[in-house]
């Protein structure tokens, strides 16, 4: 029995392919979990999802031309950013609507391109990720992402706190909101570009939002929240890999599923404990991330 459990646990790591996938999931979990905490406090969850979807045409074109996906994704992000900025200037169209229109258009365009008969059958990998197909370059990029995200969040912690807590008075406290916003969006773009290959266009947002939303429920300070979020993302990611290996489900979907399950478990447990802390009922509860793609 013990041996069977041991085998269940160790079998997935007997191949180099799955070991690499494991390393990728851990690295993306750390970077995505940590960054996600700031994204939810800066109300950037919707932006994260929009950017992830909007870069699909870039990925497809890159796949068509045989260029690195990173390059295509970056070009896709740039086009999406300009399109969102332009659409936001259309009179009578609010920013959310403009973003939704642009993102849907770009995503549809990407799908249209990918469903052309001449295209190699890679749409599935682009949409749902191919964590078992990560190269050494991908791993190096993921490691680089962890270093950059951790370094930036460490150095920028005080300023992120000021803007997140008191955006209106941040200038009076000596903090430029534009610089902080641009830095955070830059980190988001980098995380999306690096993570989209492993986790896929549709699922990458799960690693950014679900762990942070769960960590928010069980922590009372920013640094513990970031640590908890990274830990949740890592554990759920590895758990998803196990499910994928033993149940033969798609890796990206299993990881995203595990992330959401962990969030629901945490929300359920903290929700059940809530009556004991009723006097804090005025604290706003985070809304589970549920926006249709």
């Amino acid at each position: 029995m013990t041996l069977a459990v041991l085998h269940w646990l160790t079998d997935p790591w007997s191949e180099a392919l799955t070991r690499r996938a494991l390393a990728e999931v851990v690295l993306l979990g750390i970077a995505g979990g940590a960054l996600g905490c700031w994204l939810i406090f800066f109300n950037l969850a919707y932006s994260a999802e929009s950017l992830a979807h909007a870069l699909l045409p870039g990925l497809v074109v890159a796949a068509l031309l045989g260029l690195p996906l990173l390059l295509g994704g970056a070009a896709g992000l740039a086009v999406a950013a300009v399109a969102v900025a332009l659409a936001g200037r259309i009179p009578g169209l609010d920013r959310d609507t403009a973003t939704a229109v642009v993102v849907t258009t770009l995503f549809g365009l990407g799908a249209l391109l990918a469903l052309e008969p001449d295209v190699p059958a890679r749409l599935q990998a682009l949409l749902f990720g191919d964590v078992l197909g990560v190269s050494d370059t991908d791993l190096a990029l993921a490691l680089g992402l962890v270093v950059v995200v951790a370094g930036a969040l460490w150095v920028g912690h005080g300023r992120l706190l000021v803007v997140g807590f008191d955006r209106l008075n941040a200038p009076a406290l000596g903090v430029g909101t534009l610089a902080v916003d641009v830095a955070l969006l830059g980190l988001l773009a980098a995380a999306l570009l690096v993570a989209v290959q492993g986790l896929g266009n549709l699922l990458v947002v799960a690693v950014l939002i679900a762990p942070a939303a769960a960590a928010r429920l069980i922590t009372r300070r920013m640094v513990p929240m970031i640590v908890a979020s990274a830990a949740i993302a890592t554990v759920a990611g590895v758990g998803g890999m196990y499910v994928s290996f033993h149940a033969r489900t798609a890796a990206g979907a299993s990881i995203a599923g595990a992330l959401v399950v962990v969030y629901l478990l945490v929300a359920g447990v903290t929700g059940a404990a809530e009556p004991a802390r009723r006097r804090r009922a005025d604290r706003p509860r985070p809304v589970p991330y549920a926006r249709p793609g």
Binding site: F41, W154, V155, G156, H157, G158, R159, L161, V162, G164, F165, D166, L168, N169, P171, A172, L173, G174, V175, R216, T219, R220, R221, M222, M225, R280, D282, R283, P284
Partner: protein
């Protein structure tokens, strides 16, 4: 630079013989680029002054504050700011869901002194705790900001301004939403800050409070009056609030004028 060894109290403005003039304004117009929304402001501010800024919502109090903070350029006139300003915003507008302690919030006042790659040091943390002690919240230094009462949160924001170490402190309706006990505590704190040589500009709607502080600045799109409490005549109050004053006889406070605004503006 301050001596990093001396951390017993947050440093106040430097001692000088006689109150130093910290701010001089002459014929100042303020606005957001278009037509000025506040005109003809003229005043000076000395260390130890407590000035009540009276006026209706939209009367120009916030615009004046943002101009003093350097977020808006003066449209016209002279603004001679000889000391730094810190702002204490209304706690009713602060985020209660943010995972920060009272110390974390007070520490935000240290960021402006740091280069962008520097993190707050241990001595900054000590400074933040000393500032919390000065506002009477030493016991709540580790309490989550959102779990504090309104009055306590307002004092945490005052502590943040103390950590900024600014000789001029602008307070935006700090008494809004406070119960009587909290308001009394804040009142004593503001008196202590003035006594240690800071100049305070306090936006308020409470005319009686303004009378206690001694100096008033009445704004309603323009400067209506500036000076000692004797400027608070019925005409000035009517012009400030754009309404009529009715006399209320109250068993506790006696004969008592009150302003009836003609209608309520929200800006």
């Amino acid at each position: 630079m301050r001596d990093p060894g001396d951390l017993s109290t947050p440093p106040g403005p430097p001692e000088r013989p006689g109150p130093a003039e910290l701010l001089l304004i002459e014929d100042l117009d303020c606005g957001y680029g278009g037509r000025p929304v506040l005109t003809g402001v003229g005043m000076s501010l000395r260390a130890g002054d407590r000035v009540a800024v009276l006026g209706p919502n939209g009367g120009g109090k916030t615009t004046l504050f943002r101009t003093l903070l350097g977020e808006l350029d003066p449209v016209a006139g002279r603004l001679d700011l000889r000391a730094r300003c810190a702002v204490v915003p209304q706690t009713e507008r602060s985020r209660l869901d943010f995972p920060v302690s009272a110390t974390d919030v007070a520490l935000m006042g240290a960021v402006s002194r740091l280069a962008w790659w520097r993190r707050p040091s241990r001595s900054d943390r000590t400074l933040a705790r000393a500032a919390l002690a000065q506002v009477g919240l030493a016991a709540h230094a580790d309490t989550t900001f959102g779990d504090l009462s309104g009055g306590q949160r307002q004092r945490v924001l005052v502590a943040r301004a103390l950590v900024q170490d600014a000789p001029i402190v602008l307070l935006d309706e700090p008494f809004t939403g406070l119960d009587a006990v909290s308001a009394e505590q804040l009142e004593q704190l503001l008196e202590a800050l003035a006594d240690e040589g800071r100049a305070l500009l306090i936006a308020t709607h409470d005319v009686d409070q303004a009378r206690r502080w001694g100096t008033v600045l009445c704004l309603n799109g323009r400067q209506i009056a500036m000076g000692g409490t004797d400027v608070l005549t019925r005409e000035v109050l009517e012009a400030t609030y754009g309404g009529e004053i009715v006399d209320i006889d109250c068993a506790v406070h006696g004969h008592h004028p009150a302003v009836l605004p003609p209608h309520h503006h929200e800006h």
